[in-house]
Homo-oligomer: 430 residues x 2
């Protein structure tokens, strides 16, 4: 073992080290809390941390006789996800101090597996556009991306090896790409969202963040409430479909980086084809807009009717105005298009194992535009597909950019297998 502190290790490494007796749950938690104490005054990844409680839980875990697959691993959760012992404030002063009284399903499953909640990560207001205080740990003048801003920043800055976010548009893949970590949005519908604030129920999923594909796979099984299955490398290199989705919005340096990465995957044995989805799919970017905004304004009917003045002006004139402008016919047409395209992909997936595209349209911009480059994500999200971003690229200004891999619905485990293969080829440190 080197002298790297435990907060810089992956969850998989931490679990192995605790099992081997090389370290303790308390030592791991202490390193994470020290990192938070050192850095969070600038990064602002956390909305709340109870260090005393987290340390006590770690010491209790060290005394425990049964050990789950996440035993002793600190994890952060987005502050729209209910927890029994820390407030859940949805990124709005309206819910300052709100106590849910119970753990959401995902938090309870993570704890059952031995994971240790370290704190609640900052979210944008109602997981929408108005940013929280979080800064990008790679460059404090830049946005970490949103809406799972704090979750991504906490993992990227090694305050916790794992974090749970959510995604309704690109709220997990974007900040993961901007902060230089692995981010995963699972197939829609697989994880229970009970105790998670709804945004647009037809699109919402959890989002998982970590420092390796193996950690994502481990965390994903835990949050499904099933025994973890190790990532199996594929027997043969994948057939990769390269999709230059909304390519005119992607920064030229990112375009070039992905083209080069695809060539390296080809050199390593992957079979590359260009993927163009049917013409009808072009309508999904708009369809996502109407589905998400129509549902969002209904989700928050109570807040709109009773607390209008406490909603940020940007949200009122942005997402809410958009949702109010959409009538039932437009919403149903958008919903029908999305269902049709999903059925088409279910019936006939392109001739490849995974699709590759950009993880973001560019680097994290300077400033606080947490939702930059949203068009990139809308189609994939509306298709309910599992997608994973890996920190494989560097942009023109030295910030990280992800490569995004997308698999068929419910083929999340195969996606991990191909991602693991691809990362061995693309790992900048490899």
């Amino acid at each position: 073992m080197t002298t790297r502190p435990w907060n810089e290790r992956t969850a998989t490494q931490i679990v192995a080290a605790i099992a081997a007796g090389t370290t303790s749950c308390e030592a791991v938690m202490r390193d994470c809390l020290e990192r938070i104490a050192l850095r969070d005054g600038e990064v602002h990844a956390f909305a709340s941390v109870d260090a005393g409680r987290a340390l006590a839980a770690a010491r209790e875990a060290d005394r425990a006789t049964t050990r789950g697959p996440l035993h002793g691993v600190p994890f952060a959760v987005k502050d729209i996800i209910d927890t029994a012992d820390l407030p859940t404030e949805w990124g709005t002063p309206l819910y300052a101090g709100r106590m849910a009284g119970r753990d959401s399903t995902c938090v309870a499953l993570a704890r059952r597996a031995g994971g240790l909640l370290i704190g609640k990560a900052v979210t944008t207001e109602f997981a929408n556009q108005h940013p929280g205080p979080t800064r990008n740990p790679r460059d404090l003048t830049r946005t970490p991306g949103g809406s799972s801003s704090g979750s991504a920043a906490a993992v990227a800055d090694h305050m916790a090896p794992l974090a749970i976010g959510t995604q309704t548009t690109g709220s997990t893949i974007r900040p993961s790409s901007f902060c230089g970590i692995f981010g995963f949005r699972p197939t829609y519908g697989r994880h229970r969202l009970f105790g998670v604030m709804e945004a647009a129920g037809s699109l919402d999923t959890l989002g998982l963040m970590a420092h390796s594909v193996e950690d994502i796979a481990l965390f994903n099984d835990v949050l499904l409430g099933t025994a973890p299955v190790p990532v199996a490398r594929p027997d043969t290199p994948p057939r990769i479909g390269f999709c230059r989705h909304v390519w005119d919005q992607v920064h030229p340096v990112v375009q070039a980086g992905i083209e080069a990465a695809v060539r390296r995957l080809e050199a390593a044995g992957a079979h590359i084809t260009d993927v163009q989805l049917p013409a009808e799919f072009a309508g999904l970017t708009d369809a996502h807009r109407w589905i998400s905004s129509f549902e969002f304004v209904r989700t928050f009917t109570w807040e709109i009717d009773h607390h209008w003045e406490e909603i940020s002006p940007g949200l009122r004139s942005g997402r809410i105005a958009d949702g109010l402008s959409c009538d039932m016919e437009r919403y149903m047409a958008a919903t029908a298009l999305a269902a049709r395209c999903r059925a088409q992909l279910d019936a006939e997936w392109p001739d490849c194992d995974i699709i590759v595209t950009a993880g973001a349209t560019g680097e994290a911009p300077v400033g606080w535009n947490a939702l930059a480059g949203a068009d990139l994500y809308k189609m994939w999200t509306a298709l309910h597909l599992p997608t994973l971003t890996m920190p494989a690229l560097t942009g023109a200004e030295g910030m990280p950019v992800g490569i995004q891999l997308i698999g068929p619905r419910d083929a999340d485990r195969r996606l991990f297998a191909y991602a693991s293969w691809a990362w061995e080829v693309l790992d900048p440190a490899g």
Copy 2:
């Protein structure tokens, strides 16, 4: 106008009478509260009622200058649906007195439209099998059916003209059929469920209860957050597909009643065909079991881990044991079958406008088996179809039994139109 009290009128009649100045919101609310005072000591439809607050809200509505489409109509909601001003206790002493702090989406939308919350209706424990105290208002020795027991009993006993329940298996259609009212489960995914306790997220929907198809349609539009569209009678009688689903479980008197009803619909001009779904669909009854129980035990991870002793023995050895016995592979196979069958129906609906089958396998049984006859509902629920039951039949012991009409996904409004036509033919009072 007759001297019938206002609590015995439909929502549509109440809205018209208030608009015409024939009555007031206060007078309507008073009649409903008097009925509750008279009867709820025996029926036990309500978990909580705040009569003072309800009357104050009614008086305030009488002073209001803007009037929504549900102006002055009292409505009850199942006690797993959050309300800002009454507790939401999920049918378990574990959550006695639990205050959500805000209205769920459906309650907020009903109130925005002018509806007046009259109280929280009894649910079975966690909307599952363990019954609450509610009795069938048609015969106090019998179950009202569950899990939306109090919602159905409140409407059937004229304590409120409208109620919101939920359905994960048959929790709206069953109690509506047992209590002799109209019940509607909408297409899965259309109504926002934010603030509604989750049971099995892949199956949960709201459930609407009322005394007419027109009331259901009105309430449905309100809960979708869209301007109500009156029910349009179809230009021609419908093509009806008669489906003898799980017919061996249906009581012979109900079988005969439905056969006779179908003949009357035919005599009125409907074109009748026998519908047999593809062989693969037979697996959906089992698939529903695994999807619902696998998800249920994950939904309540926190309660299972922290409050095991406070969960009823029947739930622990029933649904929870069932869910724990189901592994990921079985769950995913069930999920895949359901998705495949839905896609098949989306692509090729049987050659009819609506499907007709039983609303329950028989009359409400004597005793407290709230979930009797569950197999009837599992396939339709897993298919995500809109279904509506109408109180058209009488069983061998004089209790009501429903006829169930089922339409294609997202054709909820067409289903109302055909139901309205069918009710004109079948109305026992007609």
